[in-house]
Symmetry: C2
Subunit: 226 residues, 2 copies
């Protein structure tokens, strides 16, 4: 028996998006279940929305109302602790996520082994604990929670406004737009026939279908634990 | 053992929407699997979009591009034969579905036993065969495919522009908007605690979670057939 090569799956993500947190955790959980080479790729959702002419769902009032319930239902389904944000316009639009995503891009360039854990801590801050993700102190605290060394934290913090970092984030965002992205999560499955883009944390059954894998729900190893 | 009362689940639907066809078939398939009293409720998607300030996904260019792939992937997943429409603006926007939905509303009022089968035939016309769904001849052909008697067809056709029919369709649409609808499919699960609205053919795992039922994928009786 020969094993077929792993399929590269890119997750383009921005920690401002709670639905993307679901996809992030699901893909991390499926690493040992699917024949997949998962590539975590920070991008800037604000740039994607601008380039595609798309608008956040909350700009349509009934969609915004529905999203609050939908998020809570999905949080229960995916077993991820989500707390609704009280002042979403201020937190998600005015403050936004640019500094968080630049910090993650710097980590991806200089200490990539911490990318997953710091991303998770930033999501936990904004979407579980209702905490800031743009001030230096916030970034430092997230990195400490992720067990990064102080040297590495300082290094990445000092490099987050370098043109190398800014360019890397811009290029990742443009790459996603080239794949057809108009929001987040954007997943790209690199099949033999070429890249296939999927949008949304509700498309895992279709991703599985494309990859000839089995979608076992949001917690793939639940059964073996029973 | 006492059996708990069936949970009323309303599907608000318009045959102009292919995603709603997926939901329609799934709910019909799950009738014998879930403790559910399924109520099929024709409504007018154009009215919902207007009332909610929402716009069709294809008005954002990259979303429209993505939707073509997403529809085909979902068609494969749900095992429903979808053919993309070549001139969507003409068919979906200009021609629209008002006459089809009035015909279905008249059927719901006067011959409700044919509502499911004629709805299915109208979806098959527009989304499988690329055929018209607004001309009288088209409505007649769909009704004949659904084995309606000629008398009944004539009756429903003659009543589709009555104020009773128009009012019933308008009221169903307004009811859905009151439940928070901004698109289709809109499903309303009537729990003990009150109505819970779900949007989208990708929300069945969450509907199952709400109903304490098991989501067995798009074909619930597949395993028993193997």
């Amino acid at each position: 028996m020969t094993s077929s090569p792993r399929i590269k799956v890119e997750l383009y993500y921005d920690v401002v998006s709670p639905y993307t947190w679901f996809s992030f955790e699901v893909l991390c959980r499926y690493r040992s279940h699917w024949n997949m080479n998962l590539v975590l790729q920070p991008f800037f959702l604000g740039g994607v929305m601008k380039a595609s002419g798309n608008k956040p769902p909350m700009t349509v009032a009934p969609k915004g109302m529905y999203m609050q319930k939908d998020l809570q239902r999905n949080a229960e389904y995916f077993k991820i602790d989500i707390k609704l944000i009280e002042d979403p316009y201020n937190v998600l639009v005015q403050k936004g996520s640019l500094r968080a995503m630049r910090f993650l891009t710097a980590i991806n360039l200089h200490c990539p082994e911490y990318l997953e854990s710091v991303s998770r801590e930033l999501w936990r801050r904004i979407w579980s604990k209702g905490e800031d993700i743009v001030a230096d102190d916030s970034l430092i605290m997230a990195a400490k929670e992720a067990k990064m060394e102080e040297n590495d934290i300082e290094k990445c913090l000092s490099k987050m406004d370098d043109s190398e970092t800014k360019d890397a984030l811009r290029m990742a965002t443009e790459q996603a737009v080239d794949y057809g992205a108009f929001g987040a999560p954007t997943m790209v499955v690199h099949t033999k026939e070429g890249p296939e883009m999927f949008f949304g944390s509700d498309r895992f059954p279709l991703v599985a279908q494309m990859m000839n894998e089995v979608w076992k729900g949001p917690i793939p190893d639940q059964k073996s634990k029973l």
